[in-house]
Amino acid sequence: MAAVTSVGETPLAVPARRQAGMQAGRRRRLNLFRYVVFTVFGLFFALPLLAMARFSLEGAKLGTWSLTAWRQITSYTSSEGIPPLISAVEITLELAVITSAVMLVLVVPTMIWIRLRVRWLARAMEFLCLLPLTIPPIVLVVGLGPIYDKIAHLSLSALMLFWVYVILALPYAYRALAAGLSAIDATTLSEAARSLGASWFSVIVRVIVPNMWDAVLNALILTWALVLGEFTVAFFLLYVNLQVELYSISRNTPDAGVIFSTSTASLLFAFVLLLILSYVGRRRRAIRG
């Protein structure tokens, strides 16, 4: 990657101009690398999406074009007033907000606290945060049955899904946060802050978190994406969220293209939402070289 300087030369004697040349060369090579990478990966990710979009615009005979699959999304109504799709979108958005809030409040302080004061619990937390992924959702639902039965007596709303969504998001959010936390020297920062008289609360909220803001953002993105795309648990617990509703729409018609228009629509929706989210969380420029 870097221009290969011969190690034998005395590097401290490298004149400034030569240094600029080195960096420019490296920059050029880096940019070439980036363009190649983005193109190759871009193609890999774009092609199936394009295939999906093409298929959603498929008419009754292969090879024709038609918008029916897309119109089906908006035209599906039940006997009640509000189209169920709108209420499903609403519920899922609320779920996303609640889930990410609970998740951050629960996980971030605990991670930092463990890192600073209770190191021996670190592996335990890591294992617990990986456990949800090892149990397939269909099996987890079996275990969740009795608990959700009790919850159903308190509230029938699909918002109660947040209890389990926090657990489902744990593995992803934890890993993103851990990567960010390990990249900063939390111990030194906290010692410095404490010696200036900050309370633990201040240390966590006003010193450490702002320094791992990128990781927090990534964890938020992962959590939102999970909630927006979650289907299995809601489905088997007999709740209606966005994906379950889209699935119903796609089953309500013999036009197979509808499952693709609904998927593409949900992907676009999630993407736009995440984009907005990423602007909301403008990172403060940490000191970079």
Binding site: F38, V118, T134, V139, I147
Partner: protein, 288 residues
């Protein structure tokens, strides 16, 4: 708890000197309590059911059934697929993450790739498998890949589609943490790129890389919807078999067997995590 020096600016630690020391782990109770109720208890139910038979009696037959060759085949298949797809996803994802990280931190490309990764990391199931089927399946739009239905390579290509974005999302903060000064410093000392990565960048990134790899592994292990949509006539992996046992309409349904399989998966992950912990300790020794 040392009594913090009172400063004129105030802000003493809130409970210093007020009561006898509360052990620090108390602060982790909310988290562990929540997890205990909503994760450990359902897991416990699953484990408990694994030791019962459909009539409700206690039995070890579910566990011993895990030993037969067909089931061993499922676990081997799952392990193979998860290992391969997580390695490929991790390496390719790391490369992509590096490409994203080395650009403008506030730029459009980075933001774009982050959000696309977020969306695609959770994308899977029927539509993903179908999109690939339409693209490179038997009647593929692009071409017909003869290996499309082969295991594990055909399904690995599909898994890579969400493993790579997941890797980008969880690994990017670690790459961001590599300070530019370290690179410049090592160059000033005359190292080549290879030496930089071998002695500085690599070891610094290794713990996060291993952690992300572990996540990808577990992600692939429990994935079900995608592989079932890819093909479901031939069972290759444990989740497929779990689903078959849970929802069989032909009288073969046996939830306890499914729970036993799930227990097997948890044990498998525990073993993998132990290996991972050992690797991390080895890696930490490099750093110090």
């Amino acid at each position: 708890m040392a009594v913090a020096a009172t400063t004129r600016t105030g802000a003493r630690p809130s409970w210093a000197g007020r009561r006898p020391s509360v052990p620090p782990w108390v602060g982790t109770v909310p988290f562990f309590g929540y997890v205990a109720v909503f994760l450990l208890w359902p897991t416990g139910i699953v484990v408990y059911e694994a030791f019962k038979n459909p009539a409700g009696r206690f039995t070890l037959s579910g566990i011993t059934a895990l030993g037969n060759s067909q089931v061993r085949g499922f676990f081997i298949g799952s392990f193979k697929l998860s290992l391969i797809s997580s390695l490929i996803g991790a390496v390719l994802g790391a490369i992509l993450a590096y490409a994203v990280a080395s650009g403008n931190p506030d730029g459009v490309i980075r933001r774009l790739y982050l959000c696309v990764s977020g969306v695609l990391a959770q994308f899977g199931g029927v539509t993903l498998a179908f999109a690939f089927l339409v693209l490179i399946g038997p009647v593929g739009l692009l071409f017909h890949a003869g290996w499309y239905f082969s295991f594990p390579w055909g399904i690995t290509v599909i898994y890579a589609y969400f493993q790579i974005p997941l890797m980008v999302l969880v690994f990017l903060p670690a790459i961001d943490g590599l300070k530019v000064q370290w690179r410049e410093a090592s160059e000033n000392l005359g190292s080549s790129a290879w030496q930089y990565w071998r002695y500085v960048g690599g070891p610094l990134l290794l713990p996060a890389f291993l952690g992300a790899l572990l996540l990808l592994f577990a992600n692939a292990l429990s994935a079900y919807a995608t592989i079932q949509a890819w093909e479901d006539a031939i069972p290759y992996t444990v989740p497929q078999q779990i689903y078959t046992s849970m929802s069989s309409e032909v009288g073969l349904a046996n939830i306890n067997y499914a729970d036993a399989l799930a227990l097997g998966m948890v044990v498998l992950v525990a073993i993998v995590m132990t290996g991972y912990a050992l690797l991390q300790r080895r890696a930490a020794r490099w750093l110090r």
